[in-house]
Symmetry: C2
């Protein structure tokens, strides 16, 4: 017993814990029937690693290094300044946005790639509030990824004007209780980063609109994990990151969606030259670009843009219906295989309410996850007690799910996790 | 005569135009005595190109592709999420800031690398205004790079509260006339992007402080071109980009400086999780980090950060006094060699007032620059009539200056520029 924390958890020697082998489904048959199985070979993954953290940082597509090297050696090294025009750099923020658009159910011309999710939240939250100048209240989630809440402070919503949905779960009814004719903006995550719960985008957007509020959707944990239908839902604004399920690379630029009906009236305060109607006229006064371009700000990070550009080559080939079916098959299997372990699940059992991750609770979740990582099974830990497993349909198989569940059972049954020492810097980056 | 614009310029057949060969200095001796001449081999430059646009986009260091490939293949591809800690990704915004610090005369802990120059301007302008809540006026330059002016609108300075220095030149006296006890912030470029004029940072900062105003310096055209002394000058805030003289790569992240004395009280509104005191505690409320970290916002673009990281390896070796001496030697030589061509110079003749570029006026500047570019001499055009030549001391020689001046003379004397057709999309990206 090397753990220096008191043991308040279940008895891991409990003979009822029989583990996932008992009634294993026909894993091989599931994988043989998987229409997306060919994508696994399009990714580079290290030997000996079972990677269940693609919802934090997606894996490297095989062809990405070559694309980035070409940008560096040819477009930058040889083309130099000429590449802004000749290599199409200048068009990338809009062009990559239009390539993400089908993944989020957006018609062209409503999506741009730029900046970070946090910076883009600042833009759309401010724009949305200015479109509802006679309303002061913003509704958000106490349990949202923290940067979303932080930005509601940054844009200047007073504490008294912020109504927060409960951290430990909420329903459409509890949401309805917070919306009123004073509500300017509703900010929600489409999939909760911690629990993996998927929200009813269309129903909730309609509910908010009935109260006259605008809706900002955070798609960080849904884009690339399942089909998203912003236009069909009537969404107003959305943001999302490209380094998780989209596999754009570490810190690859975020995206921003604004429904076309808002473009003419929308104002955002990060009025840099890339959002100007005529950036190279060098006019002294700011005139926002027509359309979605007014949400751009400064010079884009081209190397990071190239990583996303390469990743989108793969997405052009993906059938999102098949992606969703496989995602649910993987998460359902993991829930089934780990159920005998007795760890409470934060992730909804109903497939229609589930994203592409499974979150299980354990009082020593940090130590358990460290022990899994030492065995090459990489998920992540979320304070205080969450084991988070992301299931990316493009490069994981049902066999991987079985192996992950087996590893978890062995870690719990053997007690090796007790040998992990707790360290404060526990987090991976979501 | 294929030009479709009226010819209102000097007569290019004028026999007085004798060109730069007449009294050429001893170019070879100047280059032989250049203590920085060894740096040329550390850069990759295309064959047949004389690159005078390093003040728009710096050249590719030889070792940069390998550094970026290592980030992509090993840190991302193999390390995956673990690299946030194990490869030091999380520390890069502060770490790269502290490596830029010596180039801008800043003690450690006052500089971070993040976002774009435009986004960082938004942060520091807002922070500075909040530190002077009883003052409404912002003083800036009508002739500044446009994004600086645009951001003064974005942060909400009313038109009546904005006093602008004249576009066609201003002196410390004219600046003094705009400062008063209602002035919250003075925003200036250290080196003017169009004329190459260098401002007296220490004197102007002191002048502004006497009026109780805070000073924000835009270092885009001075960092890496000459020594900058922010701390010694008593500067309050500064921003700058890393893709020009620093050679960080296209769109590499910008930097932000805030004097330590302002850290505790400074508030900036882009309150993303990377600026939180404890980002991985996932607290629902925003608590700004101590020190310069509170100016960070979102997840940094790692591939682009790696380009800058590689470039800074070179800067660790550069003697800034030698850099400045060579820069002035190059620009003085170009001014001397091109003087007989009779093109009016926008760039100050006095070395102490000159950055590292030379800007010459010609009524058909766009066509002339296009003709130069066709000969492999790449400078850039700034509307309406400016030929802009950047002289980067790390990879240009006096011989390059002679060749550039000769090419300019030949283009003007031969009239080949008249064969260029004017196109509207003339700009390179500054």
């Amino acid at each position: 017993m090397t753990s220096d924390r008191p043991d308040t958890t279940v008895d891991l020697a409990d003979p009822d814990v029989t583990g996932p082998d008992a009634d294993a489904p026909d894993i091989a048959a599931l994988d043989a029937a998987d229409p997306l199985r060919g994508f696994r070979s399009r990714f580079t993954l290290p030997e000996g690693v079972l990677y269940l953290d693609g919802n934090s940082l997606g894996a490297l597509p095989v062809h990405t290094p070559e694309r980035i090297a070409r940008l560096v050696r040819q477009e930058w090294g040889e083309g130099l300044i000429r590449s802004w025009n000749e290599a199409g750099w200048y068009d990338l923020p809009r062009g990559l946005g239009d390539r993400i658009a089908p993944l989020v159910g957006a018609a062209p011309g409503q999506t741009v790639v730029c900046d970070s999710t946090s910076v883009n939240l600042f833009k759309v939250l401010t724009a949305a509030r200015r479109l509802r100048p006679d309303r002061r209240v913003l509704v958000a989630e106490l349990g949202s990824f923290p940067t979303d809440l932080y930005l509601t402070e940054g844009v200047g919503v007073a504490a008294r004007d912020r109504r927060l949905l409960d951290r430990d779960g909420w329903t459409t009814d509890s949401l309805a209780g917070l919306l009123a004719d004073d509500t300017a903006v509703l900010l929600l995550s489409h999939v909760d980063y911690r629990t993996g719960e998927l929200r009813d985008m269309a129903g909730i957007t309609e509910l908010a609109h009935r109260h006259g509020a605008l809706v900002v959707w955070d798609l960080c944990h849904s884009v690339g994990a399942l089909p998203v239908e912003l236009d069909a839902a009537g969404a107003d604004f959305a943001v999302g990151c490209s380094y998780k399920y989209l596999n754009g690379g570490p810190g690859s630029p975020a995206f921003l969606y604004a429904a076309a009906r808002h473009h003419d009236a929308a104002e955002q305060p990060l009025t840099g030259w890339f959002g100007h109607a005529d950036p190279f006229a060098f006019e002294p006064g700011y005139r926002p670009a027509d359309g979605i371009g007014r949400f751009l700000t400064g010079t884009p990070p081209l190397l990071s843009m190239a990583g996303l550009q390469a990743a989108l080559d793969l997405w052009d080939e993906v059938d999102l219906t098949a992606l969703r079916a496989k995602s649910l098959s993987l998460t359902s299997l993991f829930l089934e295989l780990t159920a005998p372990l007795g760890l409470p699940s934060l992730t909804p059992a109903e497939p229609s309410r589930r994203g592409s991750q499974v979150s299980l609770r354990h009082p020593h979740a940090y130590a358990v996850m460290q022990a899994l990582i030492e065995r090459g099974v990489i998920g992540d830990f979320r304070a205080p007690d969450v084991l988070r497993f992301g299931f990316t349909p493009l490069y994981l198989s049902h066999r991987d799910v079985l192996d992950a569940a087996t590893a978890l059972r062995e870690v719990l049954e053997s007690g090796v996790w007790r040998e992990q020492r707790f360290t404060a810097s526990a987090g991976a980056v979501t």
